[in-house]
């Protein structure tokens, strides 16, 4: 799993690739919370188009990122969900609480 940050205007975009599971979800959580709490960009955007699988610990990391963002009045956005990632958010009844877009253009135009 790789997570890299890039910065476009007022957004921080995290490009994540590989599976997010128990072995690496702490890394995702750490990167997200550091960015949200230290840099406070108005928009934190997760590019999940190269993530094929997310487990419950990965979902928990996203929820933590969302809550930390909301606490500071920032937006937390996801795009490029794979069928598996979409299913896991649906089954957890969490899909509706995230801002989700199909691609980066839509996410940045929102």
């Amino acid at each position: 799993m790789q997570i890299l940050a890039r910065y476009i205007n007022t957004a921080t975009i995290f490009d994540v690739s590989g599976d997010i599971d128990l072995a690496n979800s702490p890394e995702v959580r750490k990167a997200l919370l550091h960015e949200v709490r230290e840099n406070r960009p108005p928009r934190v955007v997760m590019n999940l188009s190269k993530v094929r699988y997310i487990d419950s610990s990965g979902v928990a990391s996203l929820v933590e990122g969302l809550k930390a963002s909301r606490d500071l009045g920032l937006r937390f956005i996801l795009f490029g969900l794979s069928p598996s990632a979409r299913e896991v958010l649906q089954l957890s009844r969490l899909l509706r609480i995230f801002e989700v877009y199909d691609n980066e253009d839509q996410a940045l135009a929102s």
């Binding site: 599971d21 128990l22 072995a23 487990d55 419950s56 979902v59 928990a60 069928p83 896991v88 089954l91």
Partner: protein, 184 residues
Amino acid sequence: MNGVRATQSLMKTFRRARERDTKPHAEVRAAASKNGLLLKLELHSDPRLLSAVRGALERLTEVMGLSAPECRSVTRAVDEALTNIMRHCYGGRLDQPIEVTCSRIRRRGAVGPEEGLEILLCDRGPAVDPAKLRGRPLDEIRPGGLGLHLIRQSMDTVEYRRMRGTNQFRLVKYFNPVKSQPNC
């Protein structure tokens, strides 16, 4: 060899108990092999191995003819169950034994025999408190506690037993085989 014998004996004991307990459901083992065994994995409780198990389950479910969503469901359930074993039964220790045994089973459904995939996960951690296997309500938005819910949503049968110092989680998915190869 002693470890292998102990495992075989454990599996035999569990099979007998399961056959006894599931008789009302008329579950019958497939004739594909003597005991329906399809795949057996032994691994340490190292989270880095989860992706290897997912890969094996994805291929196995494809070969068995499950649909793409069913392949993802089974893979997800096994992955979440293993995650729970690694985190809660073994407390994050990386070198503890886990067995994953996949077998073909059948049951009589309303319109004829139904094919199923049974996955038995065994670990030697402390006994699990059944009260903790209920999961949490999903109404509150907070991280954690989702694994059990995902397992239950993904599988038709989820059972836990403690037997001779071993935790045994039994997961079953029934399906109608599809002829084309799905892309999981």
